[in-house]
Amino acid sequence: MPELSAITSAFGDALTLHSIGIIFGGVLLGYLVGVIPGLNRSVAIAIAIPLTFYMSAYAAIAFLIGLSKGTAAGSAVSAILLNTPGEPSSAATCLDGYPMAKSGQPRKALKIGLLASVIGDLLSTLLLIVVVIPFASIALKFGPYELAAILIFALVFIAGMAGGSFLKGMAAGGMGVILGTVGLDPETGAMRFTFGYAELMEGVPILPLVIGTLALSEMFVQLDEYRRTKGGNSVRLGNNPDDDLSFSEFKKTLPTIFKSTGVGAFVGALPGLGPSVGSFMSYGLAKRGAKDPDSFGKGNPNGIAAAEAADNAVIPASYIPLFGLGIPGSVSAALLVGAFMIHGIQVGPLMLRDHPQMLFTLFAGMVIASLVMLAIGWYGLRLFAKVTDVPQHIVIPVVIFLCLAGIQVQGYGTFGLLVVFGFAIFGYFLKKFDYSFVTFLVAFIVTPMLEMNLRQSVILSGGDIGILLQRPIALFFVIATGLMVLHLMWSSYRLYRQRRRLLSS
């Protein structure tokens, strides 16, 4: 258990001007990205990673976490004013936010969204801090058997939960595993799929992969969609004196905010579900539990509060498996693993032992990020309302250019650009044919860890599967994985039957 002095000194580190400046920059950039429709969180993180190369490890991660928190809050602005969610997860915010804004209360809607976001984020961050430390101290005792079993379980779980189709998710995961094995074999030192390139010996470089499959391919998808959706009518902020949030109105939404934070944190802690599931789930629950469910969808402040609180609560909670076990449960968490790797730090329970100071400083930084978010959102309301007007046809070319420049600046050269282009085509197909992107990325990221633990298990046990009987935790996860595969197949079959009956009737 950490000592009190370690925690206070961590807060001291996080409270320096430099650190707050970095977090401020991250949240502000995230907020902007969130507000601009068409630029989403993973695109922003992928492009920002090269920028963080020249920061210290702490600064880099704090910046990226700030960025990812900011996007969740910022996306509410465009959802409310434009009826276009800045992030897919704010789609639920549109349902009540846009009607409310149209009825002449955009400022009120924005403030409810912001407060719900900040409270959801802050509470969930505190939950993360409280949960992770005991969690990691248990996880530290896990050996290779447990870790291998948990990793396989997590992958199958993500494949089943993240996308529409379990089969497609597994296929995408398989591809991720194959790409994850590129490079030197950890046991024999054999070269795998390196084709003579020394650059591939340490594995497929994460940056071109991420920028290609995430950012560049997303821009191609958006270019395709751009011709279908042109122009929306954004609600402008007026100077209507009625249009402000009073404390009593805010108080009425508080119970919803707390409940939704709980839902969001729960969904976030499970790998693969993601913020969209969280916000829609809590919106549904809030509607069902309300006395006046009919007013939902027509500008009920509780609708905005439910969606935004859950949306933001998911992000910190999704770092629980990341810091506790080293398993990224979402795209942004997987990108953080990459950023940590680039800075030479292995995320996971070992951080508690090896870099406790850094871990606590990060946690302190995350709390500060929530508060910074409140300040930025509150005072920047007018500015961000203007930003929603930035048209897509300007955003897309600039982002395409940033993708190329990010690679070039890293010194990958023309070869790197071609690799990025190849991954962009690959990512485009994943998205167009709806193969789970999260599963692919997480599989790619955890494969080295999975392979190492599998190998160690096989060697240490001498290939004797009976060892599992002495390892109850590992055995549990192996059985759970099997049961889950059966369950996922059965439930998708049932879902199919239902849908068919619905269609034919």
Binding site: P144, E187, M201, I342, R353, R455, Q456, I459, L460
Partner: protein, 322 residues
């Protein structure tokens, strides 16, 4: 890589001032680049950055650190072989990349491609175990235990320590289970949880010297370890190998003598600089030394020879058989 092309124009613009006048005598007359073959944040990198700061003052020119991780430091050396920079680009790395790397894998560089300006730090790698093992914490009792218990497990991190352990288990007629792991971060949990009996450690054990959670069985340095004076060296335990790791500064073979000498003088001063000593001896827990060019080159050559002999005795690179 091609990125040079991107900046050709910029380079010309930014560096015209001061370049054309470069002569051997006034080396260095422009900024220098220190290449590190490992990622930012690792112990080599931490050390290199302090070294660069100190050298900057000694040489009177900025020294920039560039990380080129990959292949255990091999990627950086491959690029260094092609450098025509006359000592303006130099590398800081570990002797293992030079001595064992070319033997274990096909590398684009050979030990003769470089000049070893100086050795500045001695590695402290060791064979370690955990607390409360049935064989205690002495090497002999481990050997005894392993003879009686086939399947005693060992965690390896590098091809070199793997070869050494294969050699030992051949000598002592042991049947070991050799488990791969990556870095100290992968090894520590295996040892601490007791899943593995004993392991190679590059330097992680130094951090556990006080708590005693990771006793050292054998020193893999030339002498006994600073923090664990009780553990014998490989030689003392009866194996004729010297796998001592030396952290060296190197330049391409074609570097002019005067430049090498200037760097060597600066390095000697750096090894007496308090900042460099502090980061190395107190944070990374390795002793600072100054080994001049002939001495390092000779040590590295003899190490390469002994590894070659060892490999022949084992019948090829150990990874390929078994």
């Amino acid at each position: 890589m091609k990125n040079t092309r991107l900046h050709t124009a910029l380079l010309a613009a930014a560096l015209t001032v001061g370049v054309g006048t470069a002569q051997a005598d006034d080396f260095p007359s422009k900024p220098l680049t220190l290449v590190v073959g490992f990622g930012a944040g690792g112990s080599t990198d931490i050390q290199a950055r302090v070294l660069a700061n100190v050298l900057e003052e000694e040489l009177g020119q900025p020294v920039n650190v560039v990380n080129q991780p990959g292949a255990g430091g091999g990627v950086a050396l491959t690029r260094l072989t092609n450098s025509q920079d006359e000592g303006y680009t130099f590398a800081f790395g570990t002797s293992m990349t030079i001595t064992y790397g070319p033997l274990a894998t096909e590398t684009a560089y050979q030990p003769d491609d470089f000049r070893y300006v100086a050795g500045v730090t001695l590695g402290q790698s060791a064979i370690v175990t955990g607390e409360g093992r049935p064989f205690g914490d002495s090497w002999e009792s481990l050997i005894e235990y392993a003879r009686e218990n086939p399947g005693t497990s060992y965690a390896t991190q590098t091809a070199l320590d793997r070869m050494i352990i294969e050699y030992i288990s051949q000598q002592e007629e042991l049947d070991l289970r050799i488990v791969p792991t990556s870095g100290g971060a992968g090894m520590a949990p295996l040892i601490l949880s007791g899943d593995v009996d004993f392991a190679y450690s590059g330097g992680t054990h130094s951090g556990y010297a006080e708590s005693g959670e990771m006793p050292v069985l054998l020193s893999l340095a030339e002498d006994r370890l600073v923090a664990f004076p009780e553990a014998p060296t490989l030689r003392e335990a009866g194996y004729d190998i010297n796998p001592a790791e030396i952290r060296v500064v190197m330049v391409p073979q074609n570097t002019p003598d005067s430049h090498v000498e200037r760097l060597a003088v600066a390095l000697e001063a750096a090894t007496q600089d308090e900042r460099f000593i502090e980061i190395t001896e107190e944070r990374i827990l390795m002793p600072v030394v100054y080994l001049p060019e002939e001495e390092v080159t000779e040590t590295l050559r003899s190490q390469t020879e002994s590894y070659k002999a060892l490999l022949e005795e084992l019948g090829g690179v150990p990874d390929a058989d078994e």
